[in-house]
Symmetry: D3
């Protein structure tokens, strides 16, 4: 798995959730997590979650940390959703060291009852993908700034979250190669 943290800013418009975006962007020929900073304004045609689409949800933020994960090892919906929840939990763990009052509910993080993140996961015929975005600043929703995470710390958080998922997946791949099958009653 490759872990790539982009220096340049990219605005997330929903096209980045498409399969093979990483290859197109940076010739990545591996499972990957790509992290970057930028605004968020998801076009209706790129909305994956039909609940958002139905409710005409506006997914908009001026400044966010974005994480785009792609796995080609399976197209199992259950696996990508388990990974999405695990990634959300990892994100929570990284932030908890800085701000102890985060609550995870499914694929969302909250502070003071306000939503801090947006996230989606799905599959195509060739890969599974996850997007998670964290508000850096926001008028109505929760944000890193509100948690006191500003300046260089924002960039550190970007690195830490991406690296933690990268390490977690590598660790899982090792662990599952040293366990014998279960007995049966």
């Amino acid at each position: 798995m490759e872990c790539i943290i982009l220096d340049k800013s990219i605005d997330y418009d929903g096209s980045q959730i498409s399969s093979l975006w990483a290859y197109n962007l940076a010739d990545v020929k591996a499972d990957s997590i790509i992290a970057f900073r930028g605004a968020c304004d998801v076009k209706i045609e790129h909305m994956i979650d039909l609940e958002d689409k139905k409710q005409g949800d506006i997914i908009f933020s001026e400044d966010m940390l974005h994480f785009i994960i792609e796995h080609f090892d399976s197209t199992d919906l259950k696996l990508v959703y388990a990974r999405q929840r695990l990634f959300t939990a990892i994100t929570s763990e990284v932030l908890l060291f800085r701000y102890p009052l985060i609550e995870r509910m499914g694929d969302d993080l909250f502070i003071k009852g306000k939503k801090l993140t947006v996230s989606i996961a799905s599959t195509s015929a060739v890969s599974q993908k996850i997007h998670l975005g964290i508000n850096v600043v926001h008028d109505h929703y929760g944000s890193l700034n509100e948690m006191g995470i500003t300046g260089d710390e924002v960039d550190k958080v970007l690195h830490e979250i991406a690296n933690s998922y990268h390490n977690e997946i590598n660790d899982i791949e090792k662990d599952l190669r040293k366990s014998r099958p279960l007995d049966v009653i």
Copy 2:
């Protein structure tokens, strides 16, 4: 998915990780999480992790909270390991409300640098299973008592962790049924 919390104490000897243990114990014909309290003394022939076996690890505790998870929806090793890590993160989240200094590393939880838990995951030809045990008391390792979790609180923790996983899985099953497939670049 069924969530069953046992009143009676059961000592974990490693046979409980076998496939179909839940059916044998309680006629459970569903995916399940079964939670109970008891000692832990894993016999060498029930050790699933070859690293433990090789190192002659003693997996022993006088008093633990045990969680046994069984899914029959797939026998994919990657899925059961993602679920194991997610379950460990959920356990951490429940405990953090009571004791803010827990650290998760893979499938282990630590307090003050001491291991608080044991865990294993694997598959047979018919199901995938996870075991996680948390020390209630322990002389050398971390324990709930050391975290100030004693008396009725121990039982509450048992319920909360089991219910949280149960809810998480139900929530995932709903979420993955409202997302359209990914576009492709």
Copy 3:
């Protein structure tokens, strides 16, 4: 699995076989069978069976019972086709109590050598779906009316078929959770 029987009439034009139709229609976040009554006129762009498309088959009926099944547990073509055949057999079993001369050939039912039903099954990247339609009246093909099934009985048949599949799937899910793996010679 949810079993939903719609009161209002819906005309089947082939768009209902699309993945996530059930969520779009009724916020269903579960595997589902949705049963309703209405005309049938499948537009060429919604034809899934290329044999029909090639032959320029007109799939048209003024009044039909429709069943739309969606499973998200796998996207295996073999599984959805086995389920389609099983569903056709279940439909046959329900009708046999009222009219003993039905013949099933694959995914079709016949009376007096006349086709009574239309059916298709396929998958997308996120779900598997089955459609089965039964003529209530028809000039050229077989129909429920011709079998003496009219008035309230038509509605009863709609309910019985949907409920039978619902029960069968629930029963399967229980049964597969109490069988140990096979031995090997």
Copy 4:
């Protein structure tokens, strides 16, 4: 898929449900249905259904028709159980032409409220298997003789059921190769 009807009698003791039995018996290197006649007396160590094992069920019959199905195309439990139900429905369809009062409940057939059949399905790491046995004569349970199926007709039933499943599977394999993927809402 091969369809083999054995002339010689074989007593079913449960060892025939093991993976690779068909290869061992007759050098079959294909998916297969093997049909034969013989007594049935399942040894406890060959019981696959833990419910039977728990209840100390005696699975005994002096004279039965047996069908042993093996597929190597997947080890998915859901697929083998869908196929088992489909096979039971096919068996019912063949018998209905001779005796119109058969009822299927899951993987069991009944006449006059009496059980006519036994069946089990499961997987190993290499194949999926189904056994179905139909009483030819029986003191307490339903039987073909009781349905008026005797003499040469018993043998015809053996052939018809085996051939019907064989044809159904071949037909499914053809059908799934002419359907385009689903659209998505």
Copy 5:
């Protein structure tokens, strides 16, 4: 699996890599390898390999042998790529009898350092497909003519390669049905 060698010439424009092309062309309802001769000029909208697309690669040849393989037994990317490499190796083996200096590198064959073939593999939601094309003549790239394979020999090569893959797959399907599962340390 069906092996079809077409008498008539077909120009490969990339549309033939689409799922269900074999059914559309020749009502094939089986896994298949279809071999034919014709020019090659892949339109940009049919390019599957994003590396080619990115580099604006021209995939053009006046005269090629084409092989189109379709399997419906799984949509696993790893399986179709293993099969593509195996097919390329088989192609190499057939040509080696006539010209001993062929080198295979992944999915490409080379003579005298010049590329002799083009190949791609991918999946849709319903099938997996492989295309391999071999230059019969070419000004810049390697070609059969350059290897001294001309006239009737070209047609023989077309038949031999198609038949070899056909036999290999049939042989694999037999072999995997006589091996017991692995033991575990």
Copy 6:
């Protein structure tokens, strides 16, 4: 994937085909190919191929090159058999540079009509494995020595074959991450 070439000699008795042997031997927590030299004498209880077992085949050689491959990414029988054939083809390609008259038939290599190799592939619930052995010397069967491959060349062949498979798998993993899904007719 790890590629390990052992200096010390190991006699292959069939136990090395067991899942997790690589971990047990050398703490390998990755997919792997392990190459070594040693005698071959497969005990009957370790025979995976029932055809060998049935025929009472003696699998014996005084001196062989052995390759043990283990993949944990899937337990699909079709995938491990495609990989086995690909590996056999790779082995053939390496040897062809030294001796141009090798013939591959399925998973066997032949020189002058004499069998040069033994091979088996299968799966457990946790991994898929392949063994291929090549005679270095042999009285009745083909051998490297007979091909003029002796001394240091034998060791070079050991390295080349192992490295070639290692590179092939790495290359496949890259290639499948840059192809978009297929269109459909």
